[in-house]
Amino acid sequence: MSEAVLNVEDLALSYPGGVQALRGVSLQVRPGEVLGIAGESGCGKSTLASAMISLLSSGAEITGGAVYLRGENLMALSERDRRRLRGREIAMVFQDPLTAFNPVLRIGEQLVDFQVNAEGSSREKRRRAAAMLSKVGLEPDLALSRFPHELSGGMRQRAAIAAALLMRPAVLIADEPTTALDVTMEAQIIHLLRELQAEVGCAIVIVTHHLGVIAELCDRVAVMYAGEVVEVAPVDDLYHDPLHPYTRALLSCDPSALVEHTGHLPTIGGRLPDLADPPPGCAFAPRCPLASESCATPPPRVRPAPAREVLCHKVAP
């Protein structure tokens, strides 16, 4: 196993009002892998993604732990040093690419600006931007001269991916990159990410609640629940041998997993715990079919196989 390119260590983060959005998250991103982060709204997956690139929303406070990018602690760096890393070492693609671009500048100007730290003349940079645009399947001459609003949602997402990969970062973080798109465009963007990953060789962290997207794209998956990573597994194991009861419940709710037509779909009863006052024991216990008395105490992190970990009392090590 190679050294992790991005290492999240025991990260804890709170939002105003004492909401503990991340509670001791540890997760490694290895060079060139595609890591999926799955979970329902409010589980902390987007917060984790923005912590990975240290773009936290105002009010968010790191209460413990650290994020290391190639050995450098992002939390200890000055904002200036962090900006130096963004783009070059780590980049991000958002759910709504319209908000990621400046609305009053053409795509071409923005893609040149993004290379502010790079060597070369502006002609050279424009040429590089054009090459990257054609790599993501856009007509470069056309796309360079367009304003963001003149592109369709799918084209905009392609342009955003081109922008993120311009400086060939070691890690690309994609937060729900296909959620706003139609299935047909979603399939194309998944395909594109897979091709680019093979070519650029960057690691991709993809955050999504769509289990189909993760199955299509990822090598490894981390499942989050109530601010914690409850299961990490290679993608095939996660879908064919899920160990955490929450992972199992989540997989069984997905209507696309049910082959037979059914009038009544399975659901997970109950609701997320209040993260301003999280339970001392297992956060999933109140909704868990296997819960017993022992679940009122903090669950152990079990490693049932070399590449797997599960946060649960009920899983045999």
Binding site: T184, A187, G212, D236, Y239, A257, L265, P266
Partner: protein, 335 residues
């Protein structure tokens, strides 16, 4: 039995304003012929821009249209006809939270239809409690405002409001967009229960095929304002006839890493209505397109009992089990 809703050759044209295009119109929907039998769910699927929502608006008279519409066997023509259909039908909006007025609490929001249609409601509080119970929310929710609701709760309030006047037809526009899978299942189960309890008929608009498969009795597939395929849901999913339906079904990512696809079912995106392709609208993206598809416009015709499709090429590969099985398995695994 007469269907609850019958559409015959429905078209929607948007008049273009402007100095140079006065008198011209932009065609959005054409030749829509559909039946919604009582007590059934009809799923309307297609990509964004295919005209799904416009069709729903036309049915409720919120969008001028031409063609024939029969509601419960009676034609919809005048304003009072539409007022009647709006009284007997309800709309669940795509963005449930945004469809509720931020200044009205839940009680006011869900009882507003009584005021609008001047229906007697008795005591407002009792009626609100009744409706909330129907959708599985505690009566205390009556005092909440929309910003105090979660996504799933806002949906339930949307359902309660839709049910207020005991409608016969409920039009649900992307009823679960933006919800987590488990909450999505909750809402769909609730809709199924209510359908049974009140004999509702649903028109469900969505681009989520995994969902519609479990919800609809029949589906209608729209592409760029044309009906390209209709039929019973199970049959369409088993053997999709139209190349567009095949591509849509194949594009849906499967929650199983062993079923990854090496190829893409469909390229590009839906062209805008301003650049409507000639003849068959789908020929620019169709993997099977031939000369005839660029020359002649196909017509919607019956291809099997209860099934219709609008494609020149269906004869050649008519619902041939072998061909479609091949399409299914055309996706070699990636390792």
């Amino acid at each position: 039995m007469t269907p609850l809703l019958h559409l015959q050759d429905l078209s929607v044209d948007l008049p273009l304003g402007g100095l140079f295009s006065r008198g011209k119109a932009l065609n959005i929907l054409a030749g829509i012929t559909l039946d919604l039998p009582r007590g059934q769910t009809l799923g309307l699927v297609g990509e964004s821009g295919s005209g799904k929502t416009t069709l729903a608006r036309a049915i409720l008279g919120l969008q001028p249209s031409s063609g024939t519409m029969l509601f419960d066997g009676k034609p919809l023509a005048s304003r009072s006809d539409y007022r009647a259909i709006r009284r007997r039908s309800a709309l669940m909006f795509q963005d449930a939270a945004a469809s509720l007025s931020p200044r009205m609490n839940v009680e006011q929001a869900i009882t507003e239809p009584f005021t609008i249609h001047r229906e007697p409601m008795g005591r407002r509080r009792d009626r609100a409690a009744e409706l909330l119970a129907e959708v599985g929310l505690p009566a205390a929710f009556a005092a909440r405002f929309p910003h105090e609701l979660s996504g799933g709760q806002a949906r339930r309030v949307g359902v309660a409001r839709a049910l207020a006047l005991k409608p016969e037809l409920v039009i649900a526009d992307e009823p679960t967009a933006g919800l987590d899978v488990s909450v999505q299942a909750d809402i769909l189960n609730l809709m199924a229960d209510l359908k049974e309890r009140h004999g509702l008929s649903y028109l469900v608009i969505t681009h989520n095929l995994a969902l519609i498969r479990h919800v609809a009795d029949r589906i209608a597939v729209l592409y760029l304002g044309r009906l390209v395929e209709t039929g019973p849901t199970a049959e369409i999913f088993a053997v999709p006839a139209h190349p567009y339906t095949q591509s849509l079904i194949a594009a849906e990512p499967k929650p199983d890493p062993r079923k990854r696809r090496a190829d893409l079912a469909i390229q590009g995106e839906i062209p805008g209505v301003l650049r409507r392709p000639r003849a068959c609208e789908f020929h620019t993206r169709c993997p099977l397109a031939q000369e005839i598809c660029r020359q002649d416009e196909p017509v919607l015709r019956t291809i099997a009992p209860g099934r219709q499709a609008r494609c020149h090429l269906i004869e050649e590969k008519t619902l041939n089990r072998e061909t479609t099985d091949e399409l299914d398995h055309q996706s070699p695994q990636l390792s």
